[in-house]
Symmetry: C2
Subunit: 462 residues, 2 copies
């Protein structure tokens, strides 16, 4: 094995070795059990340190590509070839993120049928504008100063109140304000995971999370999501096999399927988490779209092994960047430290705007109206899809998302051409799968289905 090592590259020697060995395994279709060069030999051949080789091998072991036999050496692992093609090196970040940000920079006139937020014209501006003007007028600290490290106590108190109907007993001291749901996930990833750790995600699931985990160089195992929550049988088998450290779950109005976990499934997940000693991150950023609260993992567990996160980005404003984490008390100080080191507090202005709207009741009223509007539109969307013969994964009772596929086999390319024809921007379905497998399923945002172009596209794709 002769690898190409360039000392002047932006990529470290270790990374180059890791990539090189990975490529070699893939290119040679090397079967399990084949012996790899010794640490000493690789180091000598390429005139590099033994440490760099050890580290590269260790990463490949962590990625499941290579097996280490103590006292003997390193061997290609079984099924390594299929794993090798999965991008997991830093330089492959572009591959993971390809197609992810298109919706954020799509043309104004384009219909963002595949997107993860409400259209601007659905949002109600009066109360928000009013709150913004009020904070700007009344609070010098609000427009000028850094926020406090954990976030304002009054806001955390209001969030504590909002979690009560969900039966989540989080004290304000357990709540840390963040810059939105993705920022919350990032803080947790940095606090809880190290390169090489194994984590569980739902597949299909939130693709930004997959990219984030890739960035942290952890090994991601996807468990299937069904209409009532994760597939428990598969989950148990995968837990026994992979022993992950952490499980990320989007419990209510799941992205992309729109499904919510049932109480029974929630209970089973926690039993398994106890049995296999794993922590759970419950992503509940669509909570305020729900009419009647259902069972949360954090409510059953009492914030012991469950860390809960919420956001105001989907309901109120994606521009303000306000979210929160409710965590076990023992984690709070470390979370705050990481938040401060990586971004020095969230926006005090945005926090005060949200505080104002929680205090004066306008946020509650706004979400009530939004829920009615969304469930009306959900019913219309489901009926439209059924008439066109599309298969629907499950029928959500609310939220933004329907996970559906056209009645006949249709290639992603054809779908994309049809979308272009109607000036529609989609999210490519494969992004939602942890292994980016090709798929005919699409995430459709019902709030955009009022537009005549949506109906035309759905019918054309049938």
């Amino acid at each position: 094995m002769k690898l190409h090592v360039n000392r002047r590259a932006a990529t470290s020697i270790t990374q180059q070795l890791e990539d090189g060995i990975r490529d070699w395994i893939q290119d040679h279709g090397a079967g399990g059990g084949r012996r790899l060069p010794s640490i000493r030999r690789l180091a000598a051949t390429h005139d590099i340190s033994r440490n760099a080789v050890i580290e590269a091998y260790e990463r490949l072991v962590a990625a499941g590509l290579v097996r280490s036999k103590p006292g003997s050496g390193f061997y290609v692992a079984d099924h390594a070839t299929s794993l090798a093609s999965r991008p997991s090196a830093t330089h492959a970040l572009e591959e993971v993120t390809t197609g992810m940000w298109g919706l954020f920079s799509a043309e104004e006139h384009s219909l963002k049928l595949g997107c993860g937020w409400l259209p601007s014209h659905w949002r109600e501006g009066d109360d928000l504008t009013h709150a913004i003007r009020q904070v700007a007028r009344k609070s010098r600290s609000g427009i000028f100063e850094y926020s406090t490290p954990q976030g304002p106590l009054d806001l955390r108190g209001l969030i504590q109140e909002r979690l009560r109907p969900l039966a989540i007993a989080a004290d304000a001291q357990q709540i840390v304000m963040t810059g939105g749901g993705s920022h919350s996930l990032d803080l947790l990833v940095r606090m809880l995971l190290e390169p090489g750790d194994v984590v569980f995600v739902e597949s299909p699931g939130y693709y930004n999370l997959f990219g984030l985990l890739h960035l942290q160089r952890v090994r991601v195992i996807g468990g299937p999501r069904l209409a009532d929550g994760p597939d428990i049988e598969r989950l148990e088998a995968l837990l026994a096999q992979h022993r992950p450290k952490l499980f990320f779950i989007n419990s209510v109005f799941h992205n992309p399927t729109g499904s919510s976990i049932t109480p029974g499934i929630a209970h089973r997940i926690l039993q398994l988490a106890n049995q296999y000693d794993i922590q759970i991150v419950e992503d509940d950023i669509y909570a305020d779209f729900q009419h009647t609260p259902t069972t949360r993992l954090a409510a059953l567990d009492g914030l012991d092994r469950v860390i809960y996160l919420g956001s105001f980005s989907k309901s109120l404003s994606s521009s303000l960047r306000v979210g929160f984490i409710a965590a076990p008390v023992a984690w709070v100080q470390r979370l705050v430290d990481i938040k401060m080191l990586t971004s020095i507090s969230a926006s005090r202005f945005a926090e005060q705007v949200v505080t104002t709207m929680l205090q004066n009741g306008s946020y509650r009223k706004l979400t009530e109206r939004l829920r009615v509007k969304l469930s009306d539109q959900m019913a219309i969307a489901l009926s439209m899809l059924k008439q066109a013969g599309w298969e629907i994964f499950n029928e959500p009772v609310g939220g933004m998302f329907v996970w559906a596929k056209p009645p006949e086999a249709i290639s992603p390319e054809t779908l994309s051409e049809l979308a272009n024809q109607w000036e529609i921007t989609l999210s490519a379905g494969h992004l939602f799968f942890a292994d980016h497998q090709p798929t005919p399923w699409l995430r459709l945002n019902v709030a955009y289905m009022q537009d005549a172009r949506a109906k035309a596209f759905i019918e054309a794709a049938s």
Copy 2:
């Protein structure tokens, strides 16, 4: 060597091993050359995987505590005892951050003499409030929507214009909007550094950066900062010895010394960077406090090996969270990917407020007034300190910071008691040194020295 390994701990086995071996070296005052247990023996004794042991040893090698002799084993490195006490494990994050956030949650009435931002009453609210109201009134997308991944093009164009007088030729395509200076540093750390990498910082320097680098598990080497920039002789010696990957430098109105690099030093730094093939991050968040532009590294280098960062937090508002990175073109896409994965864009609202103030000229006028006010107050502060007999590191021509020490030896405890007595909050001097060495030097913010309590404290400490 018997280490304590707990499988149920939040900390990984590898981390526990690393910490245990580190503690053992420190506790036993183990001299260089002492042999450590073999991988196989440690793994067998503690019933853990050989891989975990290898990784722990590799980290200790990277941290300079352990030497690896190929074919022989692992040995305690020379000077390991002094390094061992330096906190570098995740669980020691609290140790690194102790005392760092006090100023962010200090009482309203306390005089924040040690702090890194302007007092609220120094800030001018009218233009900012006006811009906030304008964006709230005119822009639905501004109050509701995610920003674009790289940030709005008009804002990036305006920043391009602002960099022109500094002779920094950054095209708008090379500029990425961020959530402030610390967020910019974090994005760069994640893009450029891996655990075990060696980086250079200025010491004294920005303590949040030290904590951030600790979080990323890189090895931090501090080079002395003099009144005209880094100590070039020491820098060269340290470069030759440690071969770092990256050098972080705060070129103008340096935090905490208030000093700025001279053109000659800037030129020498770039020569050395070329010779030793390192990248430079130029932190220029105090740029807008400068009357007459001086030489920037990014101007000499043309954004080739220099990545430049700026912010609106110090001049306009710390609450809004708006900063930017100007990077070599090749890095832009990866920076955007990391930004999106970790926080999904910055605040579009805050970006539009800054855009408005750059467009209507109010930001320029505001910083002009601020500069005059700051240099007046700097002169008063320097004269006050001299009268009280304090030693001044160098006499800044502008900016917020003076780095000074009382005339007689005085313990940090006594200083802290005096500060309490006058209801003053300081930044502990040792935080500014990469190795947290005890020091009588203090960072004083001249904008707070108008308050009578500052004079009383300075005289009492003399």
